[in-house]
């Protein structure tokens, strides 16, 4: 039995043979690669161009921000702070190295025996390191000299002690009636002492509340001499 399609007046076409040669297939791969490469290149170039523009904008923004930050820096404030800092440091340094000469006198009082008489005293400050004291001292015997040397050496404040120019002499002095001169034997020597500055620091806090403002205008009349201070006179000299 013939099918209904066999009666059709439309001529039938046989099944087409799929014949593909090798050459067109190769061209297709090259075409594909070339198109992909071309588009990728163009897209990359375009994208990179815009990204470069964006990055350049970012760079400009950073430069602008840095310039703005630099311009907000106040040189005047910096100098003011630097000056204050240096001034404060210099003041602190002087304060740290300030000494109490009164403490030196008190240390000498404590380290001087009764038979000693200091004829003269030279003090010299060697930078911010130490105070060198040289005293011309008179006493009555060598025993007193040796004893005094021992007292100086045992003193906690005085660091170095050197006794030199020891001489046995006679000294003339007025008698109690001051009518005639008496002469008596004496021993004189020079004592060189060294005191580190840290042993005799000034203590400004101890003066709080009793500070006199000497920077005020001078009084019209100079103050009378304070004779009461004489009562504090110690007999180290």
């Amino acid at each position: 039995m013939k099918s209904s399609s066999d009666n059709s007046f439309i001529p039938k076409r046989g099944a087409a043979k799929k014949t593909q040669s090798g050459a067109p297939h190769k061209i297709y791969i090259v075409t594909y690669i070339s198109y992909v490469l071309m588009f990728a290149t163009l897209l990359s170039a375009g994208g990179l161009y815009f990204y470069a523009q964006y990055t350049s904008g970012q760079l400009d923004a950073q430069v602008s921000a840095l310039n703005s930050e630099i311009s907000s820096f106040s040189q005047a404030d910096m100098e003011r702070i630097t000056q204050f800092n240096v001034r404060l440091s210099q003041a602190q340094d002087r304060l740290d190295n300030s000494i109490s000469v009164t403490s030196v006198f008190e240390a000498l009082q404590a380290a001087t025996i009764d038979t000693i008489q200091i004829k003269s005293l030279a003090m010299e400050r060697e930078g911010d390191n130490r105070l060198v004291i040289e005293g011309d001292i008179q006493t009555d015997s060598f025993d007193s000299t040796i004893f005094q040397r021992g007292v100086f050496l045992r003193n906690g404040t005085i660091q170095e002690v050197e006794i030199s120019d020891v001489q046995n002499t006679t000294v003339n002095e007025l008698s109690e009636t001051e009518q005639e001169q008496n002469s008596r034997p004496a021993v004189t020597f020079t004592a060189s002492l060294s005191i580190p500055l840290e042993e005799i620091p000034a203590n400004p806090l101890s003066y709080q509340g009793q500070t006199a403002d000497f920077n005020e205008p001078a009084p019209a009349q100079p103050a009378e001499q304070d004779t009461s201070a004489e009562s504090n006179n110690e007999d180290i000299l």
């Binding site: 404060l88 210099q90 002087r94």
Partner: protein, 195 residues
């Protein structure tokens, strides 16, 4: 066959063109972008440093502004810009009177030219300018001690550099001393502040 060769040639040309664009456009753009990003990093780091300095400066300025005017005045008195030699001579005479000693002479010796003046100390601090004054007084031991006590109480440092104490007749002492007074040495250009 001819069209196939032409098509192949055009595709190879496109590939070559792509490679050419890659070398002539894309690679320089890449390099430029890399350089710009490096520069941005540098600028960012610098911006951070400058911001930090500004921030610290701002906080230091506020600390400085918070110092009481009285304290600033005391500091200026303790370490003045310049030493008023006449003022110091006047102060020394007042102090001498206050201590009860008799002052024989007060002389300004001017600015010290010592090596340790206006030079760096061991800690790197520029030393202040030193001005020397010579003071000769006479008085009792108690008065001399009192004089040195008053020096220590002064509003600005009066340092004894050297002194010669000699016994005089009648229990009096003669003291010849060199004193130093200090003034601020401006070393702002040499000072380095480390943040």
């Amino acid at each position: 066959m001819k069209s196939i060769n032409l098509s192949l040639f055009s595709h190879v040309a496109m590939i070559a063109l792509s490679i050419g664009i890659g070398f002539t456009v894309i690679e320089p753009l890449f390099n430029d972008i890399g350089e710009m990003q490096d520069t941005i990093s540098v600028y960012q780091a610098e911006l951070q440093s400058v911001s930090q300095v500004n921030s610290q400066l701002s906080s230091m300025t506020s600390v400085l502004n918070s110092v009481a005017p009285d304290d600033q005045r005391r500091l200026l008195t303790y370490m003045p810009d310049e030493v008023d030699t006449v003022g110091v001579l006047r102060d020394l005479s007042i102090i001498s009177n206050e201590a009860g000693v008799v002052y024989l002479s007060i002389v300004s010796s001017g600015q010290s030219s010592d090596d340790d003046s206006a030079e760096e100390s061991a800690s790197g601090l520029i030393q202040p300018n030193k001005y020397l004054f010579n003071l000769r007084v006479e008085g009792t031991y108690g008065q001399i001690k009192n004089l040195f006590t008053l020096f220590e109480q002064n509003n600005y440092p009066i340092e004894m550099q050297d002194a010669l104490v000699q016994q005089k007749e009648g229990g009096l002492l003669a003291v010849d001393m060199n004193l130093s007074v200090y003034a601020y040495e401006d070393s702002a250009s040499e000072e380095v502040i480390v943040f």
